[in-house]
Structure formats: structure tokens, C-alpha cells
């Protein structure tokens, strides 16, 4: 296991299509709910505690080697917004393409063959972490970080935020991300005993609602 692998997986420049997704930030910015670093931090904290926790748990679960198809169904049940289900699968397919080249692994090939339209992205991330020799806890860290770094990057572009201030937002959420990753790893460890229904299902009503609104916009800069 190498911590460098975690840096590669978590790098915002990892070519898996994430740069075109704002994680709901574009809609929140358009509505005026996010307009500076303080509101961006609130946004990220809420996203991390809800969909971020679910993503981190799915990633950690997949990294334990748990059946990714069962996890994928659990992800569907936790994603009532069809726009977000589509995005999760699209990002999952794009991440799959990238990691099959970076960390070739038969488990990735099997999942790609079983779900050609894409598995939910956190599950692919978990399997990628596994292929890269990382732990479930690290997979959860990567997913938790991903749930914050996406909106922060998008906000820098959309609001013209000072990139240092925006990066400080991410840094201030380090403790939150570690907590979420720890909780997610705990859930993943109990998975064999508890089953997928025990995985967290935290939801954020506004993320679900605005994802659908955003998908209906005639013009937008970000895919989600």
C-alpha cells in the first residue's frame, strides 16, 4: 500500500471527468445560496455530511471486496433523483475508463462488463482504491474529499473566488472529512454482519431538488 496511490486517486486532475461537474454548486450559486467562501463552506459541510457520507460508505464497502452489484442497488435506493443517478453512473463509467488503465484489475473488468452503462461512481472509486492497494478507510477518504473538492473547484470558476481562500475552505473541512471517512469505514467493516441496508442513507433535500432543476436548464456550464 502506498499513500501516493491515494494522492493519485484523490487528485482533482485525475482524468475521470469530474472537472465538468459542480456537485450541485452551479445551481446553488445561481440561486444565490452560495456566494462567498463562508456560504461555500456551509454548502460543502452539508454535502459532505449527507451525500458525501453515503459516497464514502459505498466506496469503503466496495474496497472491502463486497459485491459491487448489491452496493450499486443500494446506491440507487439512496438516490431518489434520476438526474443524480444518471450523473453517478456517467461519472462511474468515466472513472472506470481511467482506472482500468491506471490500475488494471480483473475486478474492475468484471464490474465494467456487468454494468456497461456505468456503476455508481463511489463504488468504482472503492474498487479502484482496492486495485491500487489502498484500504477501505482510504477509499472513504478519497470519496469524502471528492465530495468537497468538486464544489470548491466549481465555485472558484463560477464565482471567481480567491483560490487560496477557497482551498482554505477545503482545508478547514479536513476534520469533517476524516470523521466521515472514519464513520464510513466503520459501516463498511460491519457490512458482512449488517448487510447493505445498514449503510448510511443520509439525504439533502435541496441537492436532490436542485439537481433536477439544473438538469432542466437549457444552458449550463457544468454537467451537474
Amino acid at each position: 500500500m502506498s499513500s501516493v496511490s491515494l494522492l493519485i486517486l484523490g487528485d482533482g486532475r485525475f482524468p475521470s471527468g469530474g472537472h465538468a461537474h459542480s456537485g450541485g454548486a452551479e445551481a446553488a450559486i445561481a440561486a444565490g445560496r452560495v456566494h462567498d467562501t463562508a456560504t461555500l463552506e456551509d454548502f460543502c459541510r452539508g454535502r459532505l455530511a449527507t451525500t458525501g457520507l453515503v459516497a464514502a460508505s459505498l466506496a469503503a464497502a466496495a474496497a472491502t471486496g463486497y459485491d459491487p452489484l448489491l452496493l450499486d442497488a443500494a446506491a440507487d435506493a439512496r438516490t431518489p433523483s434520476p438526474a443524480l443517478r444518471r450523473v453517478a453512473r456517467k461519472l462511474g463509467r468515466q472513472l472506470m475508463r481511467a482506472v482500468r488503465t491506471t490500475w488494471p484489475d480483473p475486478e474492475l473488468d468484471r464490474l465494467a462488463a456487468a454494468l456497461p452503462a456505468g456503476a455508481h461512481q463511489p463504488i468504482v472509486m472503492g474498487l479502484a482504491a482496492r486495485a491500487a492497494g489502498l484500504t477501505p478507510h482510504d477509499a472513504a477518504r478519497a470519496a469524502a474529499y471528492d465530495s468537497v473538492s468538486g464544489p470548491v473547484t466549481a465555485a472558484i470558476r463560477l464565482l471567481g473566488l480567491d483560490p487560496f481562500e477557497a482551498t482554505a475552505v477545503t482545508a478547514r473541512l479536513t476534520g469533517d472529512m476524516e470523521n466521515v471517512a472514519g464513520e464510513a469505514a466503520g459501516h463498511a467493516a460491519r457490512l458482512p454482519a449488517d448487510g447493505v441496508d445498514a449503510l448510511p442513507a443520509a439525504s439533502a433535500p435541496l441537492l436532490d431538488i436542485t439537481a433536477e432543476q439544473h438538469a432542466a436548464w437549457p444552458v449550463r456550464l457544468f454537467a451537474s
Binding site: 459541510r45 431518489p80 433536477e212 432543476q213
Partner: protein
């Protein structure tokens, strides 16, 4: 109903409420019978006039509950072909209590094949200082139908919210169709921020499961005939059901979102 066992320390140990109310509905000769109607704790059931083959029960909250520390359950079984409509007469107000423990409110709904349940209670209101954890578990047979609403009001008029978490788990034909967990209130990260509620203190869901939604899957509907400060979308689930997710600044606007959703879905309201 039971209370915490009296012990030698009874004088120092405040009572908490443990109650499980039960309803069983069965189809019988074009009507729906209620062979078991067991009121318990704060939940008192009243039969209202049936509507065709549909039985109608109204839940009366006959005491102040839940307080922190209370353990309340409702178990409902709707047998094959039966048709049950459940409403309530008043909001459930979660209140602070004499013990530092959260209150738990469990709702278990089982609906058999060709049966129908309309579960449309009044809102749960989280009073300042309260801590309620709610879990609604729904188990539907493949041809069962369900209409369920859930409304959460965070704080009585303009007071700060208590802590209110709610999980809704829907199993349909043995697989989990929907699993959602909300957590609002003081101390929870980001709950009132721009990703989750953004200051809206009324949250609602309307869940409709019907085999007819399998084919064709309905399209997403963004509600536009609702108050400007409210937001609501009706989305198709990854299975035969749709879900309204709505947030609003207050209970009145939230109710208007639900009314609009009933109208969009062509369902009778109330």
C-alpha cells in the same frame, strides 16, 4: 402501554413511555375489516366512515408525546386485497423530556399483494430542545400500492428547531427501493446550510408506489404552481414509484407543495 419499571430509585428516575399501537386490516366481502385495532400510549385510533371498500382510521394524539426518552411504535399490517386509509387529527409534537435520551418513533407498515395503504398523517413538529429519531419501515408485496406523506416542521412557529432525524426504508418485493435518512437540528453538520435546507424549516415527502409506474416510468416534474419560496420535484425512483421532495419556509407553504403534488399525480388529497 408500559412505563419504565419502578425501582428503588423510582423517585429519581423519571418515567418514560413505551407503547406499541397496532392495526391489522383484512379484505372481506368487498369491504376492509379491522380485526385488530389496538390503541396504545398517545396513539388512539378512531374508525371513520368507510369509503367504498376502503377503511378509514384517524389517529388521535391523546397525550403529550413523544417526550425525549419515549419509545413509541406503530405497527400496521394490510392484508391481501385490503384497502386502508390512515390520517391523523393533529400534528405530532416532539418535546423535550425529563431524561437526556432521544425519543424513538417507529412506524412499521406492511402491505400485502393487491392491497393498498394511504398513510397521510399530519406533520411531526420538532420543538426546541426535543430529540426525536423516527424510522418508517415499509414492506410492500410486488403488487401492493402505497401513498405516504411525511412532513417535518423544524420548530414551532419561529422557535429554534429541536433535533429530528428520520429514516424511511421501503422494501418492495424483497428489494430495497428507497432508503433515505434526514438529520436536522442543532449540532448536525450543515443541516441548515445551502446544500440541505438553506433556512427552510418545513420539509416534506410524498411517496407513491404503484406497479403501474413501472412501465412507462414517469418523467420528473418540477413543481411550478407552488409558493415562490418553496421548491418541490416529483422524481421517478429506480423502481415502480415516484417521490415528491419538497422544502418550504413554513408548514403552510409545504402543505401547498403537497397539494400541488397530489394534483400532478392525479391522486385524491387527504
Amino acid at each position: 402501554m408500559t412505563t419504565a419499571p419502578p425501582t428503588a430509585k423510582a423517585a429519581q428516575t423519571p418515567y418514560t413511555l413505551n407503547a406499541t399501537a397496532r392495526i391489522t386490516a383484512e379484505a372481506a366481502d368487498g369491504a376492509t375489516d379491522l380485526p385488530l385495532l389496538h390503541s396504545d400510549g398517545p396513539f388512539s385510533f378512531r374508525r371513520l366512515r368507510p369509503y367504498g371498500s376502503q377503511a378509514h382510521i384517524c389517529i388521535l394524539n391523546t397525550m403529550s408525546a413523544p417526550h425525549n426518552g419515549d419509545r413509541l411504535n406503530t405497527e400496521v399490517i394490510v392484508g391481501p386485497g385490503a384497502d386502508l386509509h390512515v390520517t391523523s387529527a393533529a400534528a405530532t409534537v416532539a418535546l423535550p423530556g425529563p431524561v437526556p435520551r432521544h425519543a424513538a418513533l417507529g412506524v412499521n407498515l406492511r402491505v400485502a399483494d393487491h392491497a393498498r395503504l394511504r398513510w397521510l398523517p399530519e406533520p411531526v413538529i420538532s420543538a426546541a430542545g426535543s430529540d426525536l429519531r423516527q424510522h418508517i419501515r415499509i414492506d410492500l408485496a410486488p403488487t401492493a400500492r402505497l401513498v405516504l406523506s411525511e412532513q417535518q416542521i423544524l420548530g414551532r412557529a419561529h422557535e429554534p428547531s429541536g433535533r429530528l432525524t428520520s429514516r424511511i426504508t421501503v422494501r418492495h418485493g424483497g428489494r430495497t427501493l428507497l432508503d433515505q435518512h434526514s438529520a436536522y437540528g442543532p449540532g448536525l453538520p450543515g443541516w441548515d446550510g445551502p446544500a440541505v435546507l438553506a433556512g427552510n424549516h418545513a420539509v416534506g415527502q410524498l411517496l407513491v408506489i404503484d406497479p403501474a409506474y413501472r412501465d412507462p416510468q414517469p418523467d420528473t416534474q418540477i413543481l411550478d404552481d407552488i409558493p415562490v419560496r418553496a421548491h418541490g420535484v416529483i422524481t421517478p425512483l429506480a423502481g415502480p414509484g415516484v417521490l415528491l421532495t419538497a422544502v418550504a419556509p413554513d408548514a403552510g407553504d409545504l402543505q401547498r407543495c403537497l397539494d400541488a403534488a397530489f394534483a400532478h399525480l392525479g391522486l385524491p388529497n387527504g
